[in-house]
Symmetry: C3
Subunit: 202 residues, 3 copies
């Protein structure tokens, strides 16, 4: 993995693990519960990406910093989550940051493995949404991806922008920066102003 | 994949994706929610089959028609599900068609990969039931496979008939036709007449 | 797999499948529902372990005794679970036995595949807790791993003890015995005396 992408992947793992720790705080788990939810949330998306692309060893099995980052996030949330005014809001903000970071990192990992651009977009979206999906199912919440506000669209936007800019020959840092800002920015705007697409009406 | 099996696999993906779209309609998601549930339901079973058999690339990563078929199903259900009198009934019918198509296709993919007949039956059943299981967990419904009416038995019947007829030297179209009709027919009959096995009594 | 580890892996599959059958009894499924839950619970942890380590064929696909053991457990619980005074208590006891057996077997399989000790511990814990997690999500229960009593800590203790004793040159039977007794013993003690770590307080 290129150093920049590795950093984004690790940062995405950390903020998703934070969102997992905040979910654990909401249902008042013990420290090991925090660790389990943080690890599953932080590593879930990238693990599925690696399995689907048949890329072995799975990233976190070759690089212990992924696990350490998850455990740090579990510790931080166990110690300090009570100081936050709204754990749900911060959970959603951490999730939004992870969404953008993983949309970029997941897409780039797939491109580097030689996949077609369309599949790389799917891998970016998968990496970005699966960890949070497992977190929400495990904690028995309605998955964020199935709630009203724009979510999967933001991940798709980030992944597609990255593939497009990369195809146009943009530098990695530029493509990654634009894609991250577009994805996380759209998602944060959706949280702030309740932006949503027209839902299905029966 | 042989052309007939490829067609059945793609058709199964389409009808399972339709069932996913109908599940999305029941919980009033936005268009991207429809796409997420349709894709996960349509591709879940075949993806797990490929991972278990270590068959790469995963089918839909080498053949974009799988994804397109899922998106088409999401669009169709978003546009027209409201015209159905009972979305739940149609969800179950689409699921029943997918069950038979995937029981056949999953079993044949495993046989073609050289697995033992017993394992091929397991792969057929897995392919047939996992997509719907993920759909129901995601949408917080009791999985159809855990409800009273005959379900896993129908998948098992289809997969076992296919392996048996194939071992007896039957043509693929014949084995596939008989197995599909038996599986989907039994499941539809179970829906129509509330057929069930004796449940556990405490 | 060494004969002793194979035996432990198979025994863990059996007791986890029993716990799955008992969960099926609690929600009054039919015989095929028992089989589905028993199989998924018994094979889930080891399957994920094999996929993560890229070890193929997945254990139960090369050795039919795993499936037979799950079906036997489904049959036994369907026939006799009603004779138990507390199905929930016995579910938790079977789960505790499986936890210790899989913590040992999962760790040893990873070590034999040449992974680093820290990753082997993660694989042991994963093998031990994932089957029960899927069982509880499928049956719509709060996963045992997220409940108050000590659970993940017991799996971690067993896996870490095994790696430590193995590194010190202990015989496999000794390392396996100590690790199993420590893990399952701690878990049973947690059930008996409601032992728990200090939970998060908002």
């Amino acid at each position: 993995m290129a150093p920049l992408i590795h950093t984004l992947d690790l940062a995405g793992t950390f903020v998703f693990a934070l969102s997992g720790g905040l979910a654990a705080a909401r249902i008042r788990l013990d420290p090991f519960g925090f660790a389990v939810v943080a690890i599953v949330t932080g590593l879930g998306g990238g693990t599925l990406r690696n399995l689907l692309l048949d890329l072995h060893p799975v990233t976190w099995m070759a690089d212990p910093s992924y696990l350490l980052v998850c455990l740090a996030a579990a510790g931080i949330t166990f110690a300090w989550a009570r100081l936050l005014e709204s754990r749900l809001l911060w959970l959603r903000i951490a999730d939004a940051l992870g969404l953008g970071l993983f949309a970029v990192a997941g897409t780039q990992v797939a491109l580097a493995a030689g996949t077609h651009g369309g599949i790389a977009i799917m891998m970016g979206v998968t990496t970005a949404i699966v960890g949070g999906m497992i977190r929400d199912i495990l904690c028995n919440e309605v998955p964020l991806v199935l709630q009203k506000e724009i979510y999967a669209l933001a991940a798709l936007l980030g992944a597609a922008l990255y593939v497009g800019l990369d195809a146009l020959g943009a530098a990695t840092w530029l493509a990654a920066g634009v894609a991250f800002i577009a994805c996380t920015g759209l998602r944060l705007a959706a949280i702030r102003w309740n932006l949503s697409l027209p839902p299905y009406r029966a």
